[in-house]
């Protein structure tokens, strides 16, 4: 039975630090709840008793003004009663809701993904904290801040601090790991939250063991341009919400008659204030699939004054603005190449930007890691979200084993690192790709040629698995694949070509054989394979192993 407590906890200012004062909270309700892991409909593949707390806490809006934000805390009952240890906390950033009643604090659809996180058969022993974001729940009277800057990330982090204060007050175990994750809009907010832990002193003490960002637009200006260029989006109502959100929160003053066609222009503010997609449904927006059906011709012209104004603001509030990321942190960014709702171009620019900052791709995350995965199957946004969810669930489930000692488990690193280079080579060969011929001709092994010269050789083989060479090239660009490295490993093992000194005499076969038998390769050859392997394994049907790559 649900019991409403309405407990107001007033922090005693005299004994609190300024940080702790900010971490005050108010519990709005507290109940025992059966969390279910549902894939859709009523089919549940797991359930778990949890304590569900609806709470609110102080945060700020886009102008920096104080606002009370609501959210939820979900604690597995077995953690609460002490029968299982707590492994850590997940700060979960929910996806876009179509109704204000869908946010987590309303126990709407926004609660489903959190429930699935805890109730899935792996039963990870974590506490989940999720913000409603501004404009919903306790802050319903405020503007939503949809895909426009760091406000929601700040709301989420303030929610985490408040929740941790609550855990301290109640002696609730918090475990030793902390994750930040979200898909779609949540993928965006998780990245902004991660950024804030680097850029704002209030959040400096928050250190996520990993940020899992999936399917989120990370380059706002790019996504607007892509929508216009493609003249398509799977959910045009969300494009409208994004443009309005920037216009309202940053006071751009663009008249909606200049932005939208009728009847959207007349209904826009109604939609923005109610946050209810049914307003757009009533005027037929949800059935439209072309951007030009709702945007004015002037706003479809990226060089028009209102469009330029919008683009300038989108650029100003981008993820990369003012961010010198701490490259010792770990990130995982996933996106489907066939996402028509959040086009992959909206993340494509971020990955090389992060690599340029110093994040290294790696088989398993070390001190500095940016892992990426562009899902190569033809999955749309929602389907790709399921892949992302499985990845993250597996990742946080096994994290305590792989990082139990507070550092990467060496045995795991060795096993994965050693096995997969050989697996990769064997997989390529099993597809009929003549690596020996390619390497022996020397173009790649001796680093005298453009890496993409290799791609045409794959044409026929790729066709068998439904891809084109253009697809492969996109994958390479997205993921930082280094086929030279692949060739070098092969060249060394099979032909004895020293990758650092290719003109030297070939290495002794016995040494190479011994190396191959041990399924080892020099570590410097391994460092950029994560994406390579993930994508190739998918192609080869090794999707069972795919889950490992989120770790």
């Amino acid at each position: 039975m649900k019991k409403i407590l309405y407990i107001y906890i007033i922090m005693c200012a005299s004994v609190l630090t300024s940080a702790a004062q900010d971490a005050s909270y108010r519990i709005l309700s507290e109940s025992d709840y059966t969390a279910k892991a549902q894939l859709g409909g009523n089919f549940s593949f797991g359930s778990r008793q949890v304590r569900l707390m609806v709470y609110d806490y102080p945060s700020t809006d886009a102008d920096g003004k104080a606002v009370t934000i609501s959210g939820v805390i979900m604690i597995p009952s077995d953690i609460l009663d002490g029968s299982v240890p707590c492994d850590g906390i997940v700060m979960y950033n929910h996806y876009t809701v179509g109704s204000p009643n869908d946010v987590p604090s309303k126990c709407g659809k926004g609660l489903n993904e959190i429930s699935a996180l805890l109730a899935n058969p792996l039963r990870p022993n974590y506490i989940v904290v999720a913000s409603d974001y501004i404009g919903y729940g306790s802050s319903f009277d405020h503007n939503v801040s949809y895909i426009c800057g760091d406000t929601n990330g700040r709301n989420a982090l303030d929610g985490l601090l408040a929740a941790k204060q609550l855990f301290d007050d109640r002696n609730i175990p918090q475990g030793k790991f902390l994750f930040n994750m979200g898909y779609s809009q949540g993928g965006t907010e998780s990245m902004f939250a991660a950024k804030l832990t680097d850029t704002e002193s209030k959040y400096k003490d928050i250190r996520f063991d990993k940020t899992f960002s999936g399917g989120g637009p990370l380059d706002f200006e790019q996504i607007y341009s892509i929508y216009v260029a493609r003249d398509a989006c799977d959910d045009i109502a969300d494009v409208i919400l994004m443009l309005m959100s920037v216009n309202e929160n940053y006071h751009l003053g663009i008249d909606y008659k200049d932005m939208f066609q009728e009847p959207v222009a007349s209904k826009a503010l109604d939609y923005f204030r109610t946050k209810d997609k049914s307003v757009m449904a009533d005027i037929g927006v949800l059935s439209k699939d072309s951007i030009h059906q709702v945007l004015t011709p002037d706003f479809m012209n990226l060089e028009s004054e209102p469009a330029k104004k919008m683009r300038a603001k989108l650029k100003e509030i981008s993820l990369t603005t003012g961010w010198e990321p701490d490259i010792t942190k770990n990130y995982y960014i996933e996106h489907s190449r066939h996402d028509n709702y959040v086009p992959i171009q909206s993340v494509r620019g971020i990955i090389p930007w992060m690599r340029d900052k110093g994040f290294q791709p790696s088989l398993v995350p070390g001190k500095s890691s940016l892992q990426t995965c562009t899902v190569v199957f033809k999955l749309k946004h929602q389907q790709s979200g399921i892949v992302w969810a499985i990845q993250t669930m597996a990742a946080i489930q096994f994290w305590p084993v792989l990082y139990y000692e507070g550092e990467q488990n060496r045995h795991y690193r060795d096993i994965v690192g050693d096995l997969d280079v050989m697996k990769l080579i064997k997989t390529l060969e099993s597809w009929g790709i003549d690596l020996r011929k390619i390497v022996n001709e020397g173009s790649l092994a001796r680093n005298r040629s453009n890496v993409f010269d290799l791609i045409p050789n794959f044409g026929e083989t790729l066709g068998k698995v439904g891809l084109t060479t253009d697809d492969l090239q996109e994958m390479l660009e997205d993921s930082g694949i280094d086929m030279i490295m692949v060739a070098r490993v092969y060249g060394y093992l099979k032909l004895g070509i020293d990758p650092l000194n290719p003109t030297a005499a070939p290495a002794e076969e016995s040494a190479r054989t011994q190396l191959e038998e041990r399924i080892e390769a020099p570590l410097y050859l391994l460092r950029s394979y994560e994406q390579t392997l993930a994508n190739w394994f998918l192609l080869a049907g090794y999707d069972v192993n795919y889950n490992l790559w989120g770790l």
Partner: protein
């Protein structure tokens, strides 16, 4: 004055006397982890059944009075075959195996085998009472760093009555290890910290129990004086207490050979019975088969002589005399309402016997 404070249980006064009894004690890590656990190669180079049989045969032939073993896990039965005729043995706390156990494979981070791998064997004509089994309060490493947290490492304490009637106390232990690669890359700070915490815990227990009986402390300490501050944490702390003097047999016997992580220390209490080492060996020659050593440690042995008998008071007692009929107690004499796995003392039919609850 100090000794008077120590009188807690049924202490008994002893008288000073010269005695010359000699006895031998050996410590050996028998490397008894399974070679394979599920699909994992846990200890591929371990001796297994065949190698353990050779170890058992070796120990049987050596005939030490007191045998203190570590990592006596999965091949205990093989080992016992060779020792059971001449020795009495402490209770074995089990193997490292998934068979017959309920294991939460989805949360392996929460799993811990409740065995400690420690085993004591004593010649039939000695009287030995197992007085305590204590887990370490701090460990480091469950899935790497030598996986010390995967089992319940700790120490055991024994009260030994020698043939002459002299009484000594013996500790057997296995301290935290580090992987070679972590030591080589100086990534073993937390391993060292765990060991130091264990030495401190051991020191506390020794000082709590120290009476007029000499104490011998043996085991696989995974410690080297050059890298682990055993001196200040353990040796100096006890010496500075003014209640006893700690010595390392290897150091006293002119540092024969290289320092071993398997050590034999002893403490002569002030005004207590005094013992003195007369021999020390690390058998690198005999402990071989076809040119390879039988396990990853060599046996370390010492022979002691009782050089004087105490005037002090023996205080250690597990409280058996106070135990009530039909009750179950832990090895510290505390009553246990629902004993789980482990060694417990059960008072039944007027007797108080140790039992292994599985």
């Amino acid at each position: 004055m100090i000794l008077a404070i120590l009188l807690t249980f049924c202490g008994s006064l002893t008288t000073t006397a010269q005695t010359g009894e000699q006895f031998s004690i050996a410590t050996l890590n028998v490397d008894g982890l399974p070679q394979k656990l599920l699909v994992l190669k846990v200890n591929p180079d371990g001796p297994g059944n065949g190698g353990t049989a050779r170890i058992g045969k070796y120990l049987m032939q050596k005939g030490y009075d007191l045998l203190m073993l570590q990592e006596d896990f999965n091949y205990h039965e093989v080992l016992s075959v060779f020792l059971e005729d001449n020795y009495k043995m402490d209770e074995w706390t089990g193997d490292v195996d998934v068979v017959g156990r309920t294991i939460d494979y989805l949360h392996l981070q929460n799993h811990r085998f409740d065995c400690d791998g420690l085993m004591a064997c004593w010649k039939n004509d000695l009287t030995v009472m197992s007085a305590a089994r204590m887990p370490w309060q701090q460990n480091f490493g469950k899935f790497s760093h030598a996986m010390d947290e995967m089992v319940t490492k700790g120490f055991r304490r024994y009260e030994v009555t020698l043939r002459s009637g002299d009484r000594i106390v013996v500790y057997n232990m296995h301290m935290d290890a580090a992987d070679d690669v972590d030591e080589a890359t100086q990534n073993d700070a937390k391993d060292k910290a765990a060991r130091m915490a264990q030495w401190a815990q051991l020191k506390d227990d020794v000082l709590q129990q120290l009476d007029s009986r000499p104490i011998i402390i043996v085991g696989d300490m995974n410690s080297l004086y050059s890298r682990d501050d055993v001196k200040s944490v353990f040796i100096d702390s006890i010496n500075d207490s003014g209640r006893g003097t700690v010595a390392d047999v290897w150091m006293e016997m002119n540092k024969q050979g290289e320092e071993s992580v398997d050590k034999i220390l002893y403490i002569n209490p002030v005004l207590g019975t005094m013992i003195q080492p007369v021999a020390y060996t690390v058998d690198k020659v005999g402990y071989q088969y076809e040119g390879k050593r039988l396990s990853d440690h060599y046996p370390v042995a010492a022979t002691f002589k009782v050089v004087s008998r105490a005037t002090g008071i023996e205080t250690m007692d597990d409280g058996r005399s106070k135990m009530e009929e039909g009750r179950v107690y832990d090895l510290r004499g505390q009553q246990v309402s629902q004993p789980k796995k482990g060694i417990f003392i059960e008072k039944k039919g007027g007797k108080s016997d140790k039992r292994v609850f599985r």
